[in-house]
Symmetry: C2
Amino acid sequence: MLIRHLAIIGVGLIGGSLARALKRARACRRIIGYGLHESELMKARALGAIDDFSIDLGQAVKGADMVVIAVPLGAMEKVLSQLRWCLDKATVVTDVGSVKGSVVEQARRLLGPHLSRFVPGHPIAGTEKSGVEASFAELFDRRRAILTPLEETEISAIQNVRDMWEAAGSEVEIMDVARHDEVVAATSHLPHILAYTLVETLAEMERAGAVFRYAAGGFADCTRIASSNPEMWRDITFANREALLTALERFRQELSALTESIRSQDTRQVLETFRRAKGARDAFTWK
Amino acid sequence: MLIRHLAIIGVGLIGGSLARALKRARACRRIIGYGLHESELMKARALGAIDDFSIDLGQAVKGADMVVIAVPLGAMEKVLSQLRWCLDKATVVTDVGSVKGSVVEQARRLLGPHLSRFVPGHPIAGTEKSGVEASFAELFDRRRAILTPLEETEISAIQNVRDMWEAAGSEVEIMDVARHDEVVAATSHLPHILAYTLVETLAEMERAGAVFRYAAGGFADCTRIASSNPEMWRDITFANREALLTALERFRQELSALTESIRSQDTRQVLETFRRAKGARDAFTWK
């Protein structure tokens, strides 16, 4: 058995899916959930994602060999500050936050002696839905899980967390914290901001007359992620503010150049841009 | 029988799907395809989309009660100029071009006495694929088909084209030419430009190290339409240049405002924008 006692802090889409994936792999003897809302935890137990739960953090993590923090970024600081006082000495801790710089800063400040067994992590998977009802065991299959260990992180802790994600179906990669945040700013956070902005642009036009009803599949696909949880994305936006602003500035420059080519009727330049983009998109093997 | 002899000029994704939808509805006695490449037309016939074909435009449209021009916008002018000399007096003509202002201007200039039986049209449906192999009978089911008739268009011609699209599964709407072009600039052409630009932005970053491999579902959805045919989208871009530049400017302003809110750490404003966009996106019932 890979993990005897796993505690999942926050049993939503990600925490619930991880629990289900590990149950599918028979990788845990016992999974205990912790959360603020007993009703949600009861749902998670009824769905079979967790074996039991506690609304007392100390109870939930007592004797755990692994603790996974799967709360929104905005709740991370509070959980980290409380965990310090109830973790066992040998417990390995990891998180699933989609920004790593801010989490690492908080962990350094708050985890005290447990810092060396904290392995910052980020499974690159999700949907626009939230909550344990939206969770499913296959969410992480063949997706990347990125770990961004610190200099002081124990090798054995990294290995434990790697084993867990591999059991859940993921391909694990180790990456530098800053590099991780730069990559997700471009590949995930930027597209979310663009989707929100595109919907906002059409919503402005809608005031002068129907627009949305004429939208088709391309628009629907492009803006699906604008249905994501606004509070969660506010927190991600500000947790990764610097890297996101850099990605936004890059996008702004590309858009400005393409707009100028359209304005000046530079048909060749526009065609070249479209061709290059199609080439890059077609080469992107989405698995 | 709705249509005795239908001629489809350009049997690709749209022309082929229309043929299949009308065959499914048993709405045509005979469908003749016309195109530049005999091999493509043979494919279309082998797939059962058309009954026969000709690579002579005059032959293809001779005796037709309805002619549907389903060529890319860039080929529209040539087809219209040739059609004038081979159309029967009673033949109704329509097109599927995704920009209407440029097509109407060409039709006025080139169709001569046939202009009053020309009904500019645009089925709002498609995929990122091209060619008759990608066609399917269900493409237009419950999608809107917009007609933008001119002042001189005969009522009976409008009714014939409306009946055809309804038989193909569409919901038909009549719209003003300029309004149509403004709406599709925002709902379709703008998202395509953004998708191309997003891929281009990441492709630039990719030179300094892997980026695409860390992209997930949100990015894949957002950029699917960047795989669309570059030549076709160059033509659409310039055919609808004015309306597209207006939509791009609206988007630029929204993005600039949101970027400024992020830069100045205005968390409340950012949250409000995300909430408003989620509300609008969730209300958009994608059928």
